[in-house]
Amino acid sequence: MKRSYVIKRILYALFIFFIVLTLNFFIPRIGVRDPAERYYPPQGAMSEIEYDIIKQFTRAQYGFDVSTFQQYIRYLRGLTRFDLGTSLRPGSPKVTELIGQRLPWTLVLSVSTLLISLVTGLLFGTLAAWKRGRWQDTTLLNASTISVALPAFFIALMLSFYLGFELELFPAYTNPNMVADFDWSWKAIQVVLNNAALPIMSMALGGIVGYSQTTRNSVIAVTNEDFVITARAKGLSHRTVLYKHVLRNAMLPLATSIGMSISGLIGGAIIIERVFNWQGMGTLFLEANSTNDYPLMMGIMLFLSAFAILANLVTELFYVILDPRVTVGDKR
């Protein structure tokens, strides 16, 4: 039964999520016994009473003012109201609020990267499979080898150097006023697109090659199947066979790899965001790291893990629905 399978997968995902959120709670606590002593050690001219006040304030800020068990209960209760805690930044903003501000900017980068690399990858991959063994195919193979060994941030630096500084085609760094000035006007959207061009390019390069390879291998695998040979034998044209028979079936493995890349969609851009100083989740995380803002860091971590679990679950269920050949482990 498919229905019981679906329920089983959802329960399992919840179980994994519970373990992850528990780990998420305890990880910062293995390293930091007392945030006051770690981050604000007593200074020379400070009296005992003054330091006591600082200690109490810091502990309250980090949520260390009650016992660990009570902290854990408080954390769980916060989560039931979708409250990931309070950042240590001035003004004590909520972690969820900060994530909400930055998430759209990261999605601008990652979603457009995904779309571009998917469409281009499909085209190149099909071409390489159709021209198997000829120069189109070998070029793709060589491009793959090279692009895997080239870190994306190095590509980003080179693009920023050449297209940004030498040719001045696109801004080499993100315009610092872009986020604040954004008002949905056509001009503001143009500014965003212009600034996003280089980050998207440097991330899409690896993605294009990856999806091309997936498509190529999947198309070749499908081409050898019996139903394709039958279609050919019926006298259908190459074009019809490609669109109606091969590509439709070749999409299935692609769906899995999309699902996988979706889980890394938000967190995967940390280094690229840093190169271009793009104000997304990645830079938010690095800012939190450099100020020891643990509530914010762990909030982002939990958000990313939850997103990954959800993406995996959806992919898995989607796959079962999409591909009738997939059995769900039921003996009947």
Partner: protein, 344 residues
């Protein structure tokens, strides 16, 4: 001949390390990889002899921002006048050390976990696979950043964290292979002869997986080198050492892009590329040597999956599926080991 027999044959083809090296050397692409890795090791070991200048010397005011010339083959940095070639040579030590030590440690941990999960089965298997599931959904780079913040930025901590989160891919692959080996006749014979579990695991199962472990290790080394460069680029590596990622970060911070000092960026980038490329080459050729039916391009595809911790998963999944479909070919039909695949 069933797929399962093919796996068993491949498993037995491993042979000694020496014969493996010989096969790699005979393969033109493998030879390129071996020579490059050899050069890299040589450069890293002989760094103090080879480096023309002191890479830590930040006091050469007169030598700032020199273009590549005979005195400074790769130029100097804009900010402090350090010799880029010397920094590049010293940087190879970090990449190689982190890459290789992490790769070897992951090989040990991954093999242990995979063999235990596959051979012992039951509760142990369940536990290990649940841990794998959890580790797979936690975003790796953010977690590494958190842990380096907590535990300090020494290379020991970085390697430790890489190992703690990098073993899952290998463990899954080894587990799938062990599930096949477990049902082979020679393991069955050993069991009947009364051999202990530990003996079978170390004497019969582990040798069968050795080629896969070696191949995976070279590819892991390549992946870790890229990851280490990224960490250093974010300023999270050991602050006292010179590494390629840190060179790139310093170049960007020091305005290499703005002042057109292309040599400062290009040198460490090419260094990373060559190091990773050579290890990858060896890994890919090894796969071809072990399994001639596998085409180079499909192993590249799997390399992408490897970077996502899903290396070889698909191949073994398909093998498991096929083995499931034809239970009649198994030596012992009552106990199909592959029924408990990765998606149980």
């Amino acid at each position: 001949m069933s797929r399962q027999n093919v796996i068993l044959q491949i498993a037995r083809r491993g042979g000694s390390l020496f014969s493996l090296g010989k096969k790699l050397w005979q393969h033109p692409k493998g030879r390129v990889g071996l020579i490059l890795v050899g050069l890299l090791v040589l450069v890293a070991v002989l760094a103090p002899v080879l480096a023309p200048y002191d890479p830590y010397d930040v006091t050469q005011r007169a030598e700032k921002g020199l273009r590549p010339s005979l005195q400074h083959p790769l130029g100097t940095s804009i900010t402090t006048g350090q010799d880029i070639l010397s920094m590049l040579i010293y940087g190879s030590r970090v990449s190689l050390m982190i890459g290789v030590s992490t790769g070897i440690a992951i090989a040990f941990l991954g093999a242990l976990m995979g063999v235990m999960a596959g051979y012992v089965g039951g509760v142990v298997d369940n536990l290990i696979m649940r841990v794998v599931d959890v580790l797979l959904v936690i975003p790796t780079l953010p977690l590494i950043i958190v842990l380096t913040n907590l535990l300090g930025r020494s290379y020991f901590v970085i390697v430790l964290v890489f190992v703690a989160f990098g073993w899952t891919g290998l463990a899954r692959v080894i587990r799938s292979l062990v599930l096949v080996l477990k049902n082979s006749n020679y393991v069955k014979a050993a069991e009947l002869a009364g051999a202990s579990r530990w003996y079978i695991m170390t004497k019969h199962i582990l040798p069968g997986t050795s080629h896969l472990i070696i191949m995976n290790t070279t590819l892991t080394c390549a992946g870790i080198m890229v990851a280490e460069a990224g960490l250093s680029f974010l300023g999270l590596g050991d602050p006292t050492a010179i590494s390629w990622g840190k060179m790139l970060a310093e170049a960007q911070g020091g305005g290499a892009l703005l002042f057109g000092a292309w040599w400062w960026i290009l040198a460490p980038g090419v260094g990373i590329f060559l190091a990773v490329f050579s290890f990858m080459r060896i890994g890919i050729v090894m796969e071809e040597v072990f399994n001639p039916r596998m085409k180079a391009s499909s192993s590249i595809y799997k390399l992408f999956k490897h970077l996502n911790n899903d290396y070889l998963d698909e191949v073994f999944q398909s093998m498991e599926d096929e083995a499931n479909a034809e239970p009649a070919e198994q030596p012992n039909g009552s106990n199909p080991p592959m029924a408990e695949g990765a998606h149980d």
